[in-house]
Symmetry: C2
Subunit: 203 residues, 2 copies
């Protein structure tokens, strides 16, 4: 064993060898989806994904070009928000917070962590910015009254991202221990006020 650089994957474990052929790409994509979700972008290695898929690590790069490109191909940057924004504008703030806090959707948390970890790659960053513009700003800004509609939507997205950041990445103890209903009410209303500031005639 002359070299110290590659010792880990002597051969792709014959017990899980692919039947060879065209399904290789799919196997890699499936393994990537699983491992990116389980371990995040940094925690999932190209070699690990290859091992899980039963292929050679070099094939992963050969097929997808880079780890970043594989990530962009497999992980859905849209977090499934579209439907949440469709409802009435008056309580979209609370609905957004409730959507992300719903314990029945643990996938959301996984995807957010993976996306945040991958955000230092330029193309992932750009995809996320594109997603913000398309998913949040484009449908929401035209429905808002008042000045700076686009800016206010962007600020609402920032506010939402901050909550997810402290909850899912930072794991702030106060927010983690807090009653979800209180967070949904307080923070949801705060987001709401950015989008539809209460007029003076409001009770």
């Amino acid at each position: 064993m002359p070299y110290g650089c590659r010792v880990t994957h002597p051969s792709p474990d014959p017990s899980r060898l692919r039947p060879a052929g065209l399904a290789t790409r799919t196997a890699i994509e499936d393994a990537a989806r699983t491992l990116f979700a389980e371990r995040g972008f940094d925690g999932a290695s190209v070699r690990g994904i290859a091992g899980e898929a039963g292929v050679d690590p070099a094939l992963v790069i050969r097929h997808f070009g880079s780890k970043e490109a594989l990530f962009l191909r497999t992980v859905d940057t849209s977090l499934g928000i579209g439907s949440v924004l469709d409802g009435p504008l008056e309580d979209v703030g609370r609905r957004l917070v409730a959507y992300f806090l719903d314990p029945a959707r643990p996938v959301i948390r996984q995807r957010y962590v993976a996306l945040a970890q991958a955000a230092h790659h330029d193309q992932v960053r750009e995809e996320m910015n594109r997603h913000t513009a398309e998913t949040y700003v484009a449908p929401l800004a035209p429905r808002l009254a008042g000045a700076d509609a686009e800016l206010r939507v962007a600020l609402a997205v920032a506010q939402l991202a901050g909550l997810l950041d402290l909850l899912f990445l930072q794991r702030d103890p106060i927010l983690t221990a807090a009653d979800p209903a209180a967070v949904i009410a307080t923070y949801g209303d705060a987001i709401q006020r950015l989008l539809t500031p209460p007029g003076p005639e409001d009770a």
Copy 2:
């Protein structure tokens, strides 16, 4: 040159050799502060810091235990907010946003990026949570009227973090292009409402 694994640092560049002796730790700390600020946590390598300090890379680990420990030792996790929170409670929201957006304080941006990149290390995360509790929650929560004072401060911190995240890490184009004065007013007031919600007798 038999091995492919280490080719980069043949020797620590005699032109910048330390005078040897006791100042080594200080030299490493200075170099670490500089490079962590310039390139962030991931971008600054132990070998790079050692080169900048004129010492052997192994010495860095020998002295500080790990890159994470060196980071915690050198980078000030407090971002100098203490004084901002001391003033009147009525407009602390705007003051906070203005403090972080002030272009005269580019160091803030650098430190935030470095901290965020290092946040996937457990000890750095814990230090940031400790910092949030000590710097924000402890001094601010007792001054707030109403229920859930601690939670509301934590939510305000989350809201602030979201803005920094989209501005400094994500580099959202809308927020980047926005008028800072508008952001300070709109977002600062939104944070303010979490801390001191306007009563019904408010004009």
